[in-house]
């Protein structure tokens, strides 16, 4: 890692894992950290000490990720933990989430920024409800790559038939998924290290790469939408200084597509069109900007533009509507979602009042069945709703663009984040 040139060429993969201690998730993460030399001596010593104090038989690698006192006391993971490791090829951000059913909201949160989901299946148990739940949530959040690690192969004698049977079980169930385009199966033993970093000698019948190789090489570059140009204005830069007297730049992060100097753009909601005069990446001029770059765009004409507005291309405009069809995951433990619930709607850089105009159905995350009878959402419920917003929202479907197709709902009184939504 000390080769600077190499380091500067590395790209980034964000992935999410879900599961409980039993299925070997912590062991797997511990193994990845250990074998890529991402765990430090003082960290290892600290968890060795704690494991001993707690009377655990082996070093409990879960202690590495369970950072809060309440988590250690109760032996459970409460919250999403973000973990980092790197190989000479890539930097990895793991959103590590607990797998219990009551933590659906954490899984949704972890999956929202991930390119890939790592799903663990215990080779002895095969595909269980929890596997389906994790896979469903990954798909719901638009993750295109799923790596299914069939773990504890050492406990089933590295049996190819067992592996094939689970693979078929999973493929069967996965045919119902909407977004996943890449489903990769890897037989592993996290405990023994088979097919994690190094190829297993006990499973010569497996011809694919080990997990780390897959994580290092899976191509996620085409997952972003580089077609539909969308630039939500975040902050207007007006220096009011002598040197930059007439400077007016629009700061923001490209949410989709590509913007080039000289491109014709339309400002929403005003509808005025002009051309891009210049694009600044901090203090340097650049020819073009694409997702996820944060840039400053200067326009040819002086048009009124403020935070919450969006720059788009005249011949490729987003949907504009006040009535939105969405799938949501309800987060609040204190407030229920019913028809008529009022809340604050936050989408790109825009905030507006909103009201739930209709609740269509809830989905049972274990059976994936729709429930059209019980239409009250409690914590961790997922379903489909219709929402009316006080002003027009410039959006795309979540499938087409995660940035312009996602929103959150906020409680106007307590300010808590009530729900996450994906537009249809």
């Amino acid at each position: 890692m000390n080769d600077t040139k190499n380091y500067l060429d590395m790209d980034l993969l964000r992935f999410t894992t879900a599961g409980s201690v039993d299925d070997g998730k912590s062991t797997l993460i511990g193994r990845l950290f250990h074998d890529t030399k991402s765990i430090f001596e003082d960290q290892l010593e600290a968890i060795e000490r704690s494991s001993k104090q707690r009377g655990d038989e082996n070093v409990n690698l879960a202690l590495l990720t369970d950072g809060l006192r309440a988590e250690r006391e109760q032996g459970i993971t409460i919250d999403v933990a973000y973990r980092y490791f790197a190989t000479p090829k890539r930097k990895f951000i793991i959103a590590d989430t607990p797998g219990h059913i009551q933590y659906t909201r954490n899984m949704v949160t972890g999956a929202s920024t991930a390119n890939l989901a790592l799903i663990l299946v215990d080779a002895r148990n095969g595909v269980i409800e929890q596997t389906k739940r994790h896979t469903f949530i990954a798909d719901l959040l638009g993750i295109k790559h799923i790596a299914v690690c069939i773990n504890k192969m050492d406990l089933v004698g590295y049996d190819q038939d067992k592996y094939e049977k689970i693979l078929n079980q999973f493929t069967d169930f996965a045919s119902r998924l909407e977004n996943v385009t890449d489903l990769t199966f890897i037989p592993i033993s996290a405990l023994k290290g088979d097919n994690v970093v190094d190829r297993s000698v006990d499973m010569p019948w497996y011809k694919g790469p080990p997990l780390l190789y897959h994580l290092e090489n899976v191509y996620v570059g085409s997952d972003f939408n580089h077609v539909d140009a969308r630039f939500p204005v975040q902050w207007v830069i007006r220096p009011h200084s002598d040197e930059y007297h007439d400077f007016r730049g629009f700061g923001g992060r490209v949410a989709g597509g590509v913007f080039k100097k000289g491109d014709e753009v339309t400002v929403l909601p005003s509808g005025f069109s002009t051309k891009i005069k210049n694009i600044l990446l901090a203090d340097k001029e650049v020819e073009q900007a694409f997702h996820p770059q944060s840039v400053t765009i200067l326009l040819e004409d002086e048009i009124d533009v403020s935070r919450g507005d969006m720059l788009v291309k005249p011949n490729n405009q987003p949907h504009v509507s006040q009535d939105l069809d969405a799938r949501i995951c309800w987060f609040s433990g204190t407030k229920k979602l019913v028809k008529g619930t009022k809340c604050i709607f936050r989408h790109t850089t825009k905030e507006a009042q909103a009201i739930i105009s209709e609740i269509k159905y809830k989905v049972d995350v274990n059976t994936l069945r729709k429930n059209e009878e019980d239409l009250e959402f409690g914590m961790n419920d997922i379903g489909r709703i219709q929402i009316r917003v006080s002003q027009p929202v410039f959006h795309d479907t979540y499938r087409r663009n995660r940035n312009t197709g996602s929103f959150i709902l906020v409680d106007p009184f307590t300010n808590e984040t009530l729900a996450a939504g994906m537009l249809r």
């Binding site: 600077t4 590395m10 809060l68 006192r69």
Partner: protein, 301 residues
């Protein structure tokens, strides 16, 4: 087709700039917590980039324990002057003089924990509703569960079990009067990312980060510098060694490491080969397993 890939450092930079602009947009009166350490220097550099050619639209806040290495203060003043931003100093000594903070007693007394008191007083005095901090999730395990936008109640407390979920690029900075936020633009950076970015951008750092000769002594497994606030006991042997600091904080709890790394490249090689985390040299984290969590709950950075 054209290649629209960004390197991981470009992605982290873009994310941090987004967070900095979002903070300016969502809050009335944010402040940037500036300690003179490398993380806050990188954050300040990113803030310059986020708002250029405007001036950074918020003041810098330094919580001063009074137990500084003189180099830190010299560096701070020069840095602030170059950027042309306003500096607000919250003094732990003032808090002690007013009786709102009580100095620890004993050999290992540190003003580190008292910083929380002064920070909360400064937030009050300056009516700050958001404080940007250079904290990273890889630093410590309680930090791994920290949000970009971290809510604090009207007592300045962090409630780790009741954090707002954070999804996509959507950050919820809404709050009731008296409450405020800590915002961490470098959440996803690692120590190595900070060093490599420093090199890539040619960012100047205080000399304390590089190898120099200094009088030091051993205490509780840490190598402490001889200063006005860390005075060796009779049985503690003082020697002159080549050392550098991996973190720069209060002199009473910031351990030095023996090192010959004199340049940024040397430091990067050393960090890459290191088997100890950077906070491993900090006495404040070693007090108990949940030391950081406890301090954060009380309003620490």
């Amino acid at each position: 087709m054209q290649n629209y890939n960004l390197t991981h450092l470009q992605q982290l930079e873009s994310e941090a700039i987004f967070i900095l602009r979002e903070t300016a947009a969502q809050f009335e009166r944010p402040g940037l917590l500036f300690s003179g350490g490398k993380d806050s220097i990188v954050m300040a550099h990113l803030a310059y980039k986020a708002f250029h050619p405007s001036k950074i639209p918020f003041p810098f806040v330094h919580v001063d324990t009074g137990h500084n290495f003189p180099e830190t203060i010299q560096f701070r003043d020069k840095f602030i002057k170059n950027l042309g931003v306003q500096l607000v100093v919250g003094s732990v000594q003032d808090s002690i003089d007013q009786g709102t903070a009580v100095e620890e007693k004993g050999l290992n007394a540190s003003r580190n924990a008292l910083q929380s008191v002064t920070l909360l007083e400064t937030i009050d005095n300056e009516s700050l509703d958001a404080c940007l901090g250079g904290g990273r999730r890889d630093e410590e395990k309680a930090r791994a569960k920290e949000r970009f936008f971290s809510h604090r109640d009207s007592f300045g407390q962090w409630d780790p079990k009741n954090q707002r979920p954070e999804l996509w690029n959507l950050f919820n900075g809404r709050k009731s009067p008296g409450e405020n936020f800590r915002v961490f633009p470098l959440s996803n950076w690692t120590e190595m990312d900070v060093w490599q970015y420093t090199k890539l951008e040619g960012i100047e750092l205080p000399n304390l980060y590089f190898s120099h000769k200094r009088e030091v002594f051993q205490r509780n497994g840490s190598l402490l510098a001889v200063t006005d606030f860390t005075i060796p006991q009779e049985n503690e042997e003082v020697s002159v060694r080549n050392v550098r600091f991996r973190t720069i904080g209060d002199a009473t709890c910031t351990g030095a490491v023996e090192s010959d790394a004199a340049s940024l490249d040397d430091v990067i090689s050393e960090v890459a080969a290191s088997r100890i985390t950077e906070r491993g040299a900090r006495a404040d984290d070693r007090r108990s397993e949940a030391a950081m969590e406890d301090r954060k709950k009380q309003g620490y950075f």
